[in-house]
Symmetry: C2
Subunit: 256 residues, 2 copies
């Protein structure tokens, strides 16, 4: 049978999602717990990878298992076996043709900035401390240009090998609560480091080091070396992955 | 000169505030950073100790130093030298007779509960995961009996050696946001583990395992073995320490 898990993790201690020859990864730890639970060697297939230090509130992954265990075994059983920094939020039996990556219709990422002159020890694991005043109006004006379908060649990791660089952003909202600024990005799919380069560029615009028109220009030119820095991983969290009709903010195709 | 620091820390990695022969403590790490900064051996005097695993958003501590350094040296300098899980929020020169502990007129502690069937990996370091439904109305009714001056003998650590067990609570508020419940306790002073035993008892009342009238009875009888469990340390955070006229919720003496 096929099972879909919704996983939450504090990525601080992990070398990202994907199993590597050297490095403690979320995938390896969850697969090991599944093997202890079921006696089977299983492979977890995620909706997408997360990089080292990135968190997840709602990572989705599926696996196929021979034994027909009740879902409670995965929920309670895995939560007992997993370390405190990984937890299972949901376990559901799904159709045999379900695929966590190919069936996904959207994702929501949240990036958290901590402003203020002094860094905050209690926010260190989950935010990027940005010194200097940020003009949120400038950032929001620039952010509007990300909405829709664009070629995001200028907003990805140097080593990104995606076949196509066109992606669709449904919404990008910037909200401020006390010293925290949350940047919520929802879209159909993302290139490697895409949200982090978008955030790095928006922060440079907020500082006044770039004009807000840069986003449209960078999307048009597609040159990574002209866009902003890659924001550090600890501010990023994969909040939710959508399937089928769940995706609430799908705007439809649009030109390109 | 005398300097007052406001410190924030994630207590997860520490054996509490106070220097011990064996154990990594907040006091030891900050004193070492001060010595590196100033070249002097200094002693930090806190407003009170925090136990192993307890966090602080606004711990206050003072020290006396021979060299007259500018406050920016302590703010920026210490924040560069300290590990990511400790930060300095304020540094102020104070009068020579200031004392972080004796001059304190009040403290605010926040205890955070995470409810819901599944534990949350991202909340693990800063909350107590409580399974089963909590009746907040029962908890609030019981909490009202804590307000005012009482003998808190039933609400302290077994090893607590305070000379007097009478303390005054200014307010206790219970608020719920999604899966989180925050219990904010403000008072003139606290016995060792006092907030954690108060919270453990309130949770047992919320579960319906004790009647809400238990709080008044326990305060009157003063027997620790009859009150609730000690809530675990990671849910507790020292939010603020007040001095002089700052204390906003001081209710005045009252009988006892």
């Amino acid at each position: 049978m096929k099972v879909r898990l919704v996983l939450e993790y504090d990525g601080t201690a992990y070398a990202g999602w994907q199993i590597q020859s050297n490095g403690h990864t979320v995938q390896a730890v969850v697969e090991e717990a599944l093997t202890r639970l079921s006696g089977e060697f299983l492979r977890l297939h995620p909706s997408g990878r997360t990089d080292a230090g990135v968190h997840a509130r709602g990572m989705v992954a599926h696996f196929t298992i021979v034994r027909e265990l009740p879902m409670a075994a995965f929920l309670q059983g895995l939560n007992r076996l997993l370390p405190m920094d990984i937890s299972v939020r949901e376990a559901n039996r799904v159709a045999d043709d379900f695929h966590a990556r190919y069936d996904s219709t959207g994702k929501w990422y949240r990036y958290t900035l901590q402003t203020g002159e002094m860094r905050s020890a209690l926010r260190a694991r989950t935010s990027w401390h940005v010194r200097g005043a940020l003009d949120l109006d400038l950032m929001r004006r620039a952010a509007a240009d990300f909405i829709g379908r664009h070629d995001f060649s200028a907003f990805r990791a140097a080593g990104c090998e995606a076949r196509t660089t066109v992606r669709e952003i449904y919404s990008l909202e910037i909200s401020a609560v006390d010293e925290l600024i949350q940047i919520d990005v929802k879209g159909k799919g993302f290139l490697r480091n895409m949200v982090r380069v978008m955030v790095g560029t928006l922060v440079e615009i907020g500082w006044g080091k770039r004009p807000p028109g840069d986003v449209a220009a960078l999307l048009a030119e597609g040159r990574r070396e002209l866009s902003g820095r890659t924001a550090p991983p600890q501010g990023l969290c994969l909040m939710e992955v959508w399937y089928g009709e769940d995706s609430p903010l799908k705007t439809g195709g649009g030109p390109l």
